[in-house]
């Protein structure tokens, strides 16, 4: 039951060591820097130190209650990330699979639209452009 913000890469295997003991179902989500156009060199992620840790911890705790999780973990990176690098992960553990799936899906919807991170795409030519929030992410959050 923990949330972390860091610049360093994380190792999914290390995060899952001892995670969810006693659970029947463990779900993980890993977000990876994707380059759809071939023009992107890196992603830069800005965050709000202090508030970020608090928000991730709050969302994790809410999910734990709502879906009766036996364990959860959120790790989110900030700073400059190259294409192909992992951005963040969520892991959820529950007795049954549907709770674990739903909790991970729920947490992702919250993190996308309500965690204080801002992404900027850096092109091979050095140009930087802030990533716009997506209406589809707001819609996803409204499901809950």
């Amino acid at each position: 039951m923990s949330a972390r913000v860091q610049t360093a890469p994380f190792d999914l295997a290390a995060e899952l060591a001892g995670f969810g003991a006693g659970a029947g179902a463990i779900v993980t989500f890993t977000g990876v820097v994707r380059d759809d156009t071939g023009a992107m060199a890196a992603l830069e992620i800005e965050h709000y130190p202090g508030m970020t840790e608090r928000a991730l911890s709050d969302y994790g705790s809410e999910a734990a209650i709502r879906f009766a999780l036996t364990d959860w973990r959120i790790v989110h990176r900030h700073g400059r990330l190259a294409v192909g690098e992992p951005i963040m992960m969520v892991a959820t553990a529950a007795r049954h699979r549907h709770a674990a799936f739903q909790a991970a899906d729920y947490l992702m919807d919250w993190l996308k639209s309500r965690a204080p991170f801002w992404k900027r795409e850096i092109g091979h030519d050095g140009a930087a452009a802030w990533v716009d929030a997506k209406a589809s992410d707001e819609d996803a959050l409204a499901r809950w």
């Binding site: 709000y48 202090g50 508030m51 608090r54 951005i87 963040m88 996308k112 204080p116 801002w118 929030a133």
Partner: protein, 83 residues
């Protein structure tokens, strides 16, 4: 009242600084925005489209009509893009 005002992402870029300490009598976030927007062109530009501005009061997401009584830190930023 003394407030620390923080800016992130393109609001930070438009205003030209990540934070400032100000004196204000603003009762709500919306009043504070009016105060700030009146300071100079950079602030005015940052707050030109309030539909694109989100805020947190003392590190909790808040809406623009949230009261500021007792607040110490207010942050302004565009819609978040985490995950």
């Amino acid at each position: 009242m003394t407030l620390d005002v923080l800016y992130f992402a393109w609001l930070r870029e438009r205003i030209g600084q990540p934070r400032e300490r100000i004196e204000t009598d603003a009762a709500t976030v919306r009043d504070l925005i009016a105060d700030l927007a009146a300071r100079d062109d950079w602030h005015a530009a940052a707050f030109a489209d309030l539909a694109a501005v989100r805020c947190a009061v003392d590190q909790q997401l808040a809406d623009l009509d949230a009261p500021l009584a007792g607040a110490r830190e207010v942050a302004f930023f565009p819609p978040m893009t985490g995950g």
